[in-house]
């Protein structure tokens, strides 16, 4: 009887997995780095161990420390979350060897999905793929690029997260791109294997959520449109995709299930496709819980983490495809601690964090007022998820929520999201992965207020000085105590079903 689960991650995903673990009667345990001593995820665990270190390579990527912590905490099961060790084959094998249940696919399925060149090859038996393959020398690369036609894209075989990608416009650029891509691949992924693929100029990025169990039963939970990206990293996701007709959806989900079966893949996964001109092409199969999983949960009412845990515990899938019902439209905005225009990351103290006070929106976050965002990890600080009966209503609710979401002390990408949600291309649903390039900041409406506030800044400093004398903690206190105390209630309140 499995009693304890280690969630080997940090931040909001720990809170998310912990919530479902408790629902299933499991005790969630955690780990944290030296830099994460104040992280809220610790409070949501039954017990958590300090594994030291600051950088990921000193902490959350240290397999030995994670396994050691799992043993000390008496856990029988390990959930890797996303990022860090989530798609690390060696780690999943180590878990198995050490007698832990790893929440994810079997090592053999992970080996295949993690080898993007091999995965392409296997998937091509079932689904359309773009022209391309793995190459080992520069002259191979030149020949292949010539054969499939420029532009082409170079990708790391073991890559992910938008790293190690090089778009090549002509043969002149190939040499340099080839060597720099190989170097980056070694540094980021520990392997210099690369492959070439035909590059699509402005595709949409659409993915299908799948669930598979040990009895090779596979179902899909529909698609997510993740086309709004910067530097190949997603910013806004929605489901259903405004570009996918029911005919395409039927084909795409059928192919996604086919690829999953062909790869003998189990647990939750995401089959990613590029979509352009009514055609879709298999890109890769991601073997982790995705950051954007909440929108699928909202429209299907299915707790994906619960299914992950059930499959890992060999309890199998209890949901039949025909029982999956899709209701309404859901959008997620990823709020990052970044400058909203340059997207430069911006760690630091969050003096105020007040999410919208609205039961109908879901906020997955580990932030609180007074928390200092460390500079060592990802800049994602909150996921704002709105689910309504149709797309227009979901957009409207998202706008209202973004306007009333107070984050102070650091800049956030909220202004970016407001600009995007007021952009005609987004409103028409007519956008692709180049959306961000043509985006105009949405703000001019209240220009006179900005001018007035700016003029009042010297006065504001006087007020702050005066207030500080009265209350020495003004700048650093946890001024949103209610949120902290009600945090579990707050998070679960967003679960409408």
């Amino acid at each position: 009887m499995v009693k304890r689960i280690l969630i080997a991650n940090r931040g909001e995903i720990v809170l998310r997995v912990a919530r479902t673990s408790r629902k299933l009667g499991l005790e969630p345990c955690g780990v944290y780095s030296e830099a994460d001593k104040e992280s809220l995820h610790i409070k949501h665990c039954e017990e958590a161990l300090n594994i030291g270190g600051h950088l990921p390579s000193e902490s959350y990527l240290r397999m030995d420390k994670i396994i050691d912590a799992a043993k000390k905490l008496g856990c029988e099961m390990i959930h890797p979350g996303y990022g860090f060790l989530a798609e690390n084959l060696e780690f999943s094998e180590l878990c198995k060897r050490e007698g832990f249940i790893f929440v994810g696919p079997s090592p053999s399925a992970m080996k295949l999905s993690g080898d993007k060149a091999k995965a392409r090859e296997v998937a091509s038996r079932i689904a359309p793929v773009l022209k391309g393959k793995e190459i080992s020398t520069e002259s191979n690369a030149l020949d292949l690029a010539e054969e499939i036609g420029y532009p082409v894209i170079l990708k790391a075989v073991k890559g992910g997260g938008g790293r190690g990608l090089r778009v090549i416009e002509s043969a002149d650029d190939l040499g340099e791109a080839f060597s720099s891509s190989k170097n980056e691949a070694v540094l980021s992924f520990g392997s210099d294997r690369v492959y070439i693929e035909k590059y699509l100029e402005n595709p949409r990025h659409i993915e299908v959520q799948i669930l598979g169990d040990d009895d090779s039963k596979v179902i899909h939970l529909g698609e997510r449109d993740c086309s709004i990206q910067r530097r190949h990293q997603k910013l806004i996701e929605e489901t259903p995709s405004p570009a996918v007709t029911s005919d395409i959806r039927a084909k795409m989900t059928e192919k996604a299930i086919g690829v999953t079966k062909e790869m003998a893949y189990t647990n939750a996964g995401t089959v990613e496709f590029l979509f352009m001109g009514g055609n879709f092409y298999f890109m890769e199969l991601n073997s982790r819980i995705q950051v954007e999983h909440p929108i699928t949960e909202e429209v299907t009412g299915i707790d994906i983490v619960e299914q992950q845990l059930r499959i890992a515990l060999s309890r199998g899938l209890t949901i039949k495809q025909e029982e999956v019902k899709f209701r309404g439209h859901a959008i997620e905005c990823r709020i990052n601690a970044e400058h909203p225009i340059s997207f430069a990351p911006y760690p630091g103290m969050v003096t105020k964090f007040v999410p919208p006070k609205d039961d109908r929106v879901r906020v997955d976050t580990a932030l609180y007022s007074g928390y200092t965002i460390p500079p060592f990890y990802d800049s994602l600080i909150a996921k704002l998820i709105c689910h309504e009966e149709d797309r227009n209503k979901a957009i409207e609710r998202m706008r209202t929520s973004l306007l009333s979401f107070r984050i102070s002390g650091i800049p956030s990408t909220i202004p970016f999201h407001l600009s995007a949600l007021n952009d005609q291309r987004f409103l028409r649903g007519d956008y692709d992965t180049t959306f961000v390039n043509g985006l105009k900041p949405f703000a001019s409406r209240e220009g006179q207020i900005a001018a007035a506030l700016f003029s009042l800044l010297p006065k504001r400093i006087q007020i702050l000085e005066r207030e500080k004398d009265k209350d020495p903690w003004l700048m650093s206190r946890y001024d949103d105590i209610q949120f902290r105390d009600n945090r579990s209630g707050y998070l679960s309140s967003s679960w409408k079903r």
């Binding site: 760690p347 990802d378 306007l403 800049p411 006179q448 009042l456």
Partner: protein, 144 residues
Amino acid sequence: MKVGVNGNEYDVELLGNKARINGKEIALKLDQDELTTSDNKKFHLDFLQEGEPSFMIINGMAYDVLRSVSADTATKEVKAPISGQIIDVSVSAGMKVNRGAPLVVLEAMKMENQIRSPLKGRVREIKVIKGQSVKSGDVLLIFE
């Protein structure tokens, strides 16, 4: 005072609890970071980074704000925009650089940030070395 906001110019005159903006008077009440107007609308200053231009986020919307006065205060110091670690220094003291030339690479939150020269000029002094950790606002280098 003339104030430029996202490229548009506003004429602002402060009159006690009121302000005249482009000839139109509105009542304003400022309480710490919240501005209330006469029609009871609230505007929260979420974020402020002073500079030329200053960057403000008000109610989730972003504004570049510039005081429209002669700007002879050219930046001589290049400061770290964020906290992080210096992973590369591309210039040395005495070097002439063009506006936009790469100066320093700062790594923060898994991201490499190229810091570029705000002006054309000669570097007088480099204040940081490769591998060093810096805080937001620390001086990285000084121009002549």
